[in-house]
Symmetry: C2
Subunit: 598 residues, 2 copies
């Protein structure tokens, strides 16, 4: 069966979000809904024909590091990503000035959802590369763009993001990768980098000749020390293959894949320990140190990298949503086909009935549907915010979209990751014992999805980002603006067939607002932060309930939309109060329990 349901996607994109209205903006002038549909057709074909067939094989034969230090991917993954690049999908949202299609991010995101549903691991190569090239296009010098973004646009290189180190995962201020000045050329200031980068997806790959690494490192002080904290971090372009302008000319850069991580799932993409400047394999220009070109100014590294990080965070949520979606579709089909047991109301029925006749199975299908469609809607909505933040007609609209995007990024990253995994858990349950075997797809969906609450900032980090920076940081203004829209949707619902949804939505919004107020006003600012993860889940549930309601209110929406919204309101919205209760009560158990009690 197909990995996605295009009718669902088209409903969200066109009927609900009105993607075609974006064509009224100057950046998208001359484009049409037909263009967008044609682009999605292309993505869907690639997903089904190239990415899906290699999803399972590349799980059992993960990337290997050869004795020559080169990484060998599963050939199917190589071919699928090659087909993607050859079809030019990486150009979807790139400026026309750089040879791109200049499509809305909203449309590019919908297309990426198709690829991710088919093969989340393989999708990582183009996803990271697109985000990498976008950073270079935004912050690089013209020559940097030509040397390092253009090959990615043309499909001759793929890009990575190199932030973490073995001893600095979530805590980037502690990185120790070191950059020493090494002259300058037409592409900018050169440095020689030494250090070790961990968790680098796509760093070792045999799809394209070159790999462009965006590396965070610290420029060493005159006395050889490194500047402390995140303000000392700078950003460097470190290609695997040096361009002609490098000292010593073109050739391999001084970097090496020192190891591969062996993961529970998500195995189609290499995840590497990358050593910079060991000097054992290559010494460009005769000196040790991987050659890199500074992007932006010294000390701006983290600020610039956050553009890529935020894009990647939204894409993590998107991947989790896509896996939830596919699990939902698979378990739905299974539940309609597989016969087992008798209906509760007629236990002496002569023959087994399809699983879907059992209320608990129906519950798990509706719950998955709500999670999958809600998560996907959240990601597409966020993607449209990214479009509007960059291209809306007025400064005020842009800044409003930007504030909303900022507020929602941690939610869009984490909500699909946590609840998409719950959805995949239910997809397995619907399959019974078969769901636990590798003969069915749902077990791999579950293993793949387990990464999403971790990478690009764990759920705990997202909770802190939301509550500390995005809410306590602005006194709750961005949240208040959001909840105003939530209430407006509740008002619209109250007047129609969704009337039953209105009170719960209003209550949940009120509870969230109240919790934000008590967090902002707390005497001890650490206490609320001990409940940041619970707050994050509660916020996500309110936002998703809002989006599900909003979609159900679209004229002509498929009837399942209203049922999924209703089920989510009945069974999931009550959790909001449960998550917020300990914050409201000022629970300090996790803070006050002595170490010996843990």
């Amino acid at each position: 069966m197909p990995a996605v349901n295009r009718a669902d996607l088209d409903f969200m994109l066109f009927d609900w979000l009105g993607a075609e209205r974006l064509t009224a903006l100057p950046r998208f002038a001359g484009q049409s809904a037909e263009d967008y549909r044609a682009f999605l057709d292309l993505a869907e074909r690639l997903a089904e024909n190239e990415f899906l067939p290699t999803w399972k094989p590349s799980d059992s034969a993960e990337p290997a590091l050869g004795a020559d230090g080169e990484v060998r991917l599963h050939p199917g993954v190589r071919d699928a990503v090659r087909a993607y690049l050859d079809a030019g999908l990486q150009l979807a949202t790139v400026d026309e000035a750089h040879g791109g299609m200049q499509l809305p991010i909203t449309v590019g995101t919908a297309a990426m959802a198709c690829i991710m549903a088919a093969n989340i691991a393989a999708s990582g190569f183009p996803m990271l590369s697109q985000a990498n090239a976008r950073v270079i296009a935004a912050y690089g010098t013209p020559r940097q763009i030509e040397l390092f973004a253009r090959p990615q646009h043309e499909g001759a290189a793929l890009g990575t993001m190199c932030l973490s180190e073995p001893e600095a995962g979530s805590s980037l201020g502690d990185i120790t990768t070191r950059a020493r000045p090494a002259g300058a050329d037409e592409a900018g200031r050169r440095f020689r980098l030494t250090g070790r980068k961990m968790w680098i997806s796509g760093a070792g790959q045999d799809i394209t000749p070159d790999t462009i690494h965006l590396v965070l490192a610290k420029i060493e002080n005159d006395d050889g020390t490194l500047p402390a904290g995140t303000k000392g971090i700078s950003l460097f372009l470190v290609p695997r293959l040096l361009p002609e302008i490098a000292p010593g000319g073109s050739g391999p850069n001084d970097l090496a894949i020192a190891g591969l991580n062996h993961k529970m799932g998500y195995r189609g993409i290499s995840n590497c320990l990358l050593n910079l400047g060991e000097g054992t394999r290559h010494r460009p220009g005769g000196e040790a140190g991987a050659l890199g070109w500074l992007v932006g100014e010294p000390g701006q590294g983290l600020a610039i990298m956050f553009q890529m990080m935020n894009e990647a965070r939204i894409n993590v949520g998107l991947g989790a949503a896509a896996l939830a979606w596919r699990g939902y579709l698979l378990s739905r089909d299974y539940a309609f086909e597989r016969r087992q047991g008798r209906p509760l109301e007629d236990r002496r029925a002569p023959a087994p009935v399809p699983l879907v006749r059992h209320p608990d199975v129906r519950r798990m299908l509706l719950a998955q549907k709500a999670i999958a469609e809600g998560a996907l809607a959240l990601c597409l909505y966020t993607a449209r915010l990214a479009d509007l933040a960059a291209t809306a007609g007025t400064e005020e609209e842009r800044s409003r979209a930007h504030a909303r995007l900022d507020l929602l990024t941690p939610v869009t990253k984490s909500w699909p990751s946590e609840f998409g995994l719950e959805a995949n858990h239910m997809a397995i349950q619907v399959h019974g014992g078969y769901g636990y075997t590798r003969d069915f797809d749902v077990e791999q969906l579950y293993r793949d999805n387990r990464l999403n609450p971790i990478h690009e900032g764990t759920t705990g980090i997202q909770g802190l980002d939301l509550l500390r920076r995005k809410i306590m940081g602005d006194g709750g203004a961005a949240l208040a603006a959001l909840l105003e829209e939530v209430r407006a949707t509740a008002d619209r619902a109250a007047a129609g067939p969704g009337a039953a949804l209105a009170p719960g939505l209003r209550d949940a919004a009120g509870a969230l607002e109240q919790a934000a107020r008590s967090a902002t006003g707390a005497a001890d600012p650490v206490m609320p932060l001990a409940h940041a993860t619970a707050f994050l889940h509660a916020a996500g549930h309110v936002v998703v309930a809002w989006l599900l309601t909003d979609m159900a209110l679209v004229a002509g929406a498929p009837e399942g939309r209203l049922w999924a919204a209703r089920h989510f309101h009945d069974t999931e919205l009550p959790r909001v109060a449960a998550w917020l209760a300990p914050l409201g009560a000022g629970s300090r158990a996790a803070l006050d329990a002595p170490d010996g009690a843990l």
Copy 2:
């Protein structure tokens, strides 16, 4: 590090449950707490020295089916189980009359927890065998006991349970394995069985020469049809190797492993498709059909098998609890060792602090502790009920214990399975990216534990068992008796340092009672059953909150007990109301949504 924390286990077993008081019962006369500790020492040594070292290796090299039709286990698993049998642990709870130690089930369960924490998959062999032999001892003829239980007691055979078929998983009334009368002998009535059994753990193994299968099948009617429904099910003893008394004498029985299931985890134990009576490999006595001896009377099969099923259900919960426990211990150690980030209250601290300094990490440790210790307590409490139901001094005590055991079995099976998995999810989160790699143990714990909400009856089935049979079936009497004890514990808590726990516990008990009442009184009995899984979770949370409180009130309890109880009360008990809300509101979304809306 060790797989278990003996101090925790001993606290629960002796300080809280007072296992030594069981020695006052005639069955355990002459035994002492020292005997129990010595037995646990033995189990702990076997767990650490034999079972733990082979846990990871047997995950990557799962059982294989040779061209000769024989299953090859990982040699480490073979050796570990062999060591267990050689040490005689399978005799723990067996009657002295049958050569056993006649220890309390409570003690045997605690010992099994150690083995399970070290290697859940390998533990399946002795766990199933012990339950199998107990059924034979209880329902078999003396000659059956001698032929089929004794070899298991002596370590010369292992036992399995064969219920499901490819087309009949949860729905046993639909099995089609057929039994034809084939004479009788000193061991009872003989039958020839033909059919296919699915999900048979341990059916193919090379640890002991023989395997004793307890097989559900239907005795065919004179016209060759099979009786309908569960009342037509009978139970048969089908050994892999026929005894001398069989027609044609000793030799292989007519059964074959037709395939192995390839699982997400839990890979150390074979899980087989078992074909009976294909006649291709063996034809005992010249005729096709696996020879089996009837246990009990025709049509009693399911009733007898439920003894084994219920024991296995409790052991599933125990395994899930053990995995949660080990994940908790591993992530706790990691959080104290690994340094990362700055404390929330001093973000400019000069050096990274241990993970345990971060409130969200402390939250995840306390939450895991509460789940792991709560789940383990639940299993040990249930095991003591099994002891009391069989051996308490008065009929009234036995019947009270029996009613409680019946009520709690679905909770004991499912609560640790669902929330132990949540605990393992948190254990991974504490490890960050490392937790997702196979270099650390927590990812395998998570994969292993994912089976537990499925086998021996899915969580959905347990929910129906609890709400329909155990609560609506007796008008809520067993639940009322339980909640009376919960309230008594709340009263005791109110008078001491656990005073803060009392109101929440009372509220949650009240909410559960109210929900049970509205379920029992519902006009449409199907509506409440659509919320059976949510009710099951709510009931489990109330029971676990009660047990955590009860343990915290033990004089001299480790201080962590009270903190874990407090944290669970603050953060988890509010979920009870959320789970029960849709039942209370009579939500019918899952029932009324048309198929097209799913």
